[in-house]
Symmetry: D4
Subunit: 159 residues, 8 copies
C-alpha cells in the first residue's frame, strides 16, 4: 500500500526535498506531491499562458486559479497533508490549504517554529501533529506508514 | 427564507456590527453568526474552563479547540461565509476558515485592503466576491438575498 | 411540510409568476426561488457594487460570480429544480444549472418547446419530467406535493 | 501519479486529438477520456441497440441515456474536466456537463472563442481557466501536472 | 423535535392510517409522508399531465418518473423509512425503496407477514426492525421518539 | 482504464457468463463482479460458518448479512450496475440492489422480459437502459466502454 | 439559532439533567437529546415489542437495533455530541457513539474521571474538549453558544 | 480485484497473524492493515518523536493523535473492518474504531467471546457478522472474496 503525502506551504527552503530524501532512506512507500514551488512561475502562470492583464489583481487571479487546479486536486488525492509555515511572509495560502484539508477530513501535520505557535493555535488545533523540522515529519511518516519507532520497535519483532 | 451568514476574521474593528446594522436597515432576512470576538476570552477559554496549563502551547490548544466547536459548527450551518483580513497580525485563522469554507463548497466573500491583494491571491481565487468595506458586503447581500440593485431594480418591477 | 422549488432559466417571459400564481390558487405549500431576473442588474451587478472594469470579460466575471452566490445557494436548498429554455439566446446558464442540479441529485423538471427537443436530449434525459408550459409544471407540483390528479383523486378519498 | 482529464463538448473538430498529441509530445502522465464523438452513433445508439421508436422524443431519450452511462462515469472519474464550446449549434450538453462537473467540485477548464464570452459568463465564472485553443490547454496541463512553465522553469531547477 | 417518517410500499390496505392514528393517540411529534396511494392516479399521472403515449412502456415511464419526484424527495427528507410488503403483487418498488433508503443510511423498519420472511431476507438484513403489524410500528415509534415502553417506563420516572 | 460492472439479480440461468464471454470476445477492458450465485451456499452461509440457528428467521438473517458484506462492497466499487429480473420468484433482493445502486448514483442497466415491464416501472424509471438479453448488455458495454456501435463506428474512424 | 446537543453514555447518574438544568439557568437556546436511559427498557425493548427470543443473543440484538434507530438519528441531527464515561461497566456503546460522531465530523466533548484518561486516550484525542463534570460542559456550552466566559465577557461589551 | 481489510482492536494475542496466514493459505487476494501493535511504541510515540511532556495527559494525547493519522487513514481505505475485543482491558479504542467504521458505512465484522455479548450488544448490532475466532473470520473472507463455502461450493461449479 502506497501512501500519498501533500507538502504545502513555505517555498523558500528545501524542506520538501529533505522529507523526500529522509523517506527514501527509510524505504517508505510514499509519493510526495507539492505545489509548483518556482515563485515567479507560480505568480505569472496565468498571464504567461492566457494573456497579459494590465490590472495586477486579474494578473494574480488568473495565476492563482491555475495553481488551484493543481493544489486542490493534489490535496484531495492525498492521504496526509503536511503544511509548513516559514519565518517570513504572511503565508495565507498555507493556512488556507490547512483549512481546506481539515474540512476534507485529511490528517494534518503542521510544521513551524515555536515563535509562531500562538498565532497558529487554531491551525495547530486542527492538526494531528505539530512539528518543527523535516526530520520529525519523516519520523512520523516512518511510524505511521511502517510502524517503526527507533528505540522501541527495533528491539523486538513488533508486528 | 432566512439566510445565515458567518462573519469570520479580524476582531479589532466593528465591521461585523456595521454589516449587521446595514442589513437590518435594508430589511434583509439574514442571521449573522460570528466567532467569539472578545480577544482575551478567546485566548483563555480553555484554561479558564478546564484548568490551567503551565505550558503555553497547551494553554492555547485547549482554547483553540473549544473555539473550534463554535466556529466549525457555525461555518457548516452558514449559507455564505464572509472573511475579513485586517491590517495587522498574521490572521492565519481567517485564512484557515476561508479554506475550510471553500472545501465545504460555501460561497465565500473576502474583505481586505488593496495592499494585501497579492498575498491573498489564493484566497481571493476561491472567493465569489472580493470586497474592501462592510458597505460592499451589505450591498452584495441585498442583491443576493433580495435581488435589489440600486439604480437598476428600483427603476422597475424586476420580480 | 413546505417544499422549495427553484425556477431557473429564461427570464424574458413571466412563466415564473404563472407557476407561482397557479400554485397559490391550488393552495400548495411551496416556496419558489429564482435567480435575479432583471437582465441589466444581473449583467452589471459586479461592477455596480465592486468597481468598474475596462475589460468586458472581467465586467462579466465579477457579475457572474455574485450571481453564483445566489443561484448555487438556492439550487442547493431546493427540493425540486425547474429549468425553462426559451425561444431565443443560447441559454448556457440554464443548461449549466440543469447539470449542476443533476449532479446534486435534485429532481429536475425541464420546460421547453418541441423544436428544441433534439438539442436538449441530454438535458431531458437527466430530467424526471419534460414539460412545455407553466400549467404542466403546476399540475406536476400539485400531484407531487399534494397527491392531487384531476379526474382521478377528486373522484374518491385517495389518501 | 497519472492524471485523468475528460474532454467534453464540441465534436466537429479534432481539438481532442490536438490536446492528446500535445500532451504526448510533452510527456505528460495523463489519460484523456471523451464522450462518443461519432455524431450519428451518438444520436442513434438507443434505437440501434434497444429497438426502434416511432416517436423521435423517445428515440433521442434512449440514446441520450446510454450516452449518459459513459459521460457521467467518466466525469466522475476525472481529475480535471475540459469543456469546449464550438462555433455552431446550441451545445446545451456541453454546458450541462460543465454544471455537472462544477457541482462535483471538479476543476473546470473552459475553451471557447471570444464572441461567446458574454453568453458563457456563468460557465466561465465556475471555471479555473478560460482558454481559446488546444495549445493553451496543453500548456496548462504541462504546468498543472509537471510544473513546467516555459521561460520560467526551464531556466532553473524549479523543484 | 419533530420526526419525519416515510411510509413506503403496499397501497391496498389502510395500514398508513392505522399508524398515523396510533401515533396521534400516543401524542407523538411525528409527520408521516407517503407516496401517492391512489393506484390509477399513480399509474396514469404521466400521460394525464404530459400527453398520452401509444406505447405502454413510455406510458409507465412518464408516470413512474413523476412519482419518483415525490418518493425520492420524501425518502431523503425522512428520519425513518417504513416499508410494508403486502400479500399480493411483486412489489418491486417497495424493495427498491428499501434499497434506496438503506444506501442513504436511513433507519429502516420493514413490515411483512412471516411467509415472506425467506424471500425478504436481504431486505430484513438491512433493517433495524422487522415487524408484522401497524401496532408494532407505532410501539417502536413511541419508544424511539418518546422513550416510552409500556410495562417499563410507565413504572418509573425514566428520564 | 478498466471498468467494473456488478451483475445483480437472477441466479438460475447463465446470463452472467454470457455477458462475460461476449465482453471478452469484444475485447472490453471490464471486470465483472457478482453475488455468490450458489443458491444453497448463499442461503446457509451464516449457519455454516457461525453456528446453527433453530429459528429460520435468524438462520436467514445471519446468511443475508454475510452476503451483504460482499454485495454492498461490490456495488460501491462498481462503475455500472446491471440487475436482471428472471421469470420466477419475487426477487426482492434484485430490486433492493437496484434501489441501493440508484441512491449511490451508479448508472443502472435493467434486464427483464416484457411481461414484467409494468410491475418494474419504478425500477426501469431509475435505469439508464432497459434491456431484455445479455447480448444487449454486451452491446451497450461495447458502446459505453469502447465507443463501438456496429453499422456506425465501423464505417469510419470515429475517434 | 437553536443548538442541538446529544448526551451519550453513562446512564446511572443524573448528569444529563444537571447539564439541562444548568443550561436552562444560563438561558441557552439548546435542545438536549439522549438515548433511552431506562436500563431495563433499553435491554428488553426488542422482545417486548417484537416477540420473545429464547437465545439471549437475539434478545439483545433486537433491542440494540431498535435503540440504534433512536441513537443514530439523534447523533446525526446533533450539532455537538457529549459522551460521558462513568466509573463502572465497560461502556463500549459510549465509545462506539464517540467513534460514530467523530466519523461524521461532529464536535465531540468527552466527560470522564482522571483515572480513565489513559484508557480513553484515543477517544480524548478525537475530542475538542475533555471534561470531568456537568458544570464544565455547561460552561463550555455557554461559551460556544452565547460567547459568555465569566470573568471576561461580563466585564465588557464583548460583542 | 484485491480487497483491503483493517484489523482493529486487541493487541496482546497473534490473532491478526492467524487471519493473515489462514487467508494466504486460502489464496485470497487480500491486504491486511492494522494499527501499530507494539504497545509501548504506541503509548510513547508522541513524546518520543515530538518531545517529552511532564503531564501524562498530553503525553498520551500526542501519541494518540499520531496513532490516529494511521488508524483513521487505514479505516477509510478499508473495504472491510474487523474489530476484536479481548478478555482484558476496557478497549475503548476498539469500540471507537467500530463506531467510526460504522458511520463510514464500512462492513463490520466483530470478534469476541460469548461472555462479552451483552456488553457489546450495540456494537454487535452494527456488525454484519459476529465471530469468536480467527478461523471464522478467514472462512467469512473466503466466502465474501472468493465465494467459497466448504461443503457447498466445492461440490459443484458454483460460478
Amino acid at each position: 500500500m502506497t501512501w500519498t503525502v501533500y507538502l504545502s506551504g513555505e517555498i523558500h527552503s528545501d524542506w520538501r526535498d529533505e522529507i523526500a530524501r529522509g523517506s527514501m532512506t527509510a524505504g517508505l512507500a510514499v509519493i510526495f506531491t507539492r505545489p509548483v514551488t518556482h515563485h515567479e512561475a507560480s505568480d505569472d502562470v496565468g498571464v504567461a499562458l492566457l494573456g497579459s492583464e494590465p490590472d495586477k489583481f486579474w494578473h494574480d487571479h488568473k495565476g492563482a486559479q491555475i495553481n488551484a487546479i493543481r493544489t486542490r486536486s493534489l490535496i484531495e488525492k492525498a492521504d496526509i497533508v503536511v503544511v509548513r509555515f516559514g519565518e517570513k511572509y504572511r503565508q495565507w495560502n498555507a493556512a488556507f490549504d490547512a483549512g481546506f484539508a481539515a474540512a476534507l477530513g485529511k490528517p494534518l501535520i503542521v510544521m513551524h517554529q515555536d515563535e509562531h505557535a500562538h498565532a497558529l493555535k487554531e491551525v495547530d488545533a486542527a492538526a494531528l501533529a505539530v512539528t518543527s523540522s523535516p526530520e520529525q515529519v519523516v519520523a512520523i511518516l516512518r511510524y505511521v506508514i511502517d510502524g517503526d519507532l527507533p528505540g522501541y520497535t527495533d528491539k523486538a519483532a513488533s508486528r
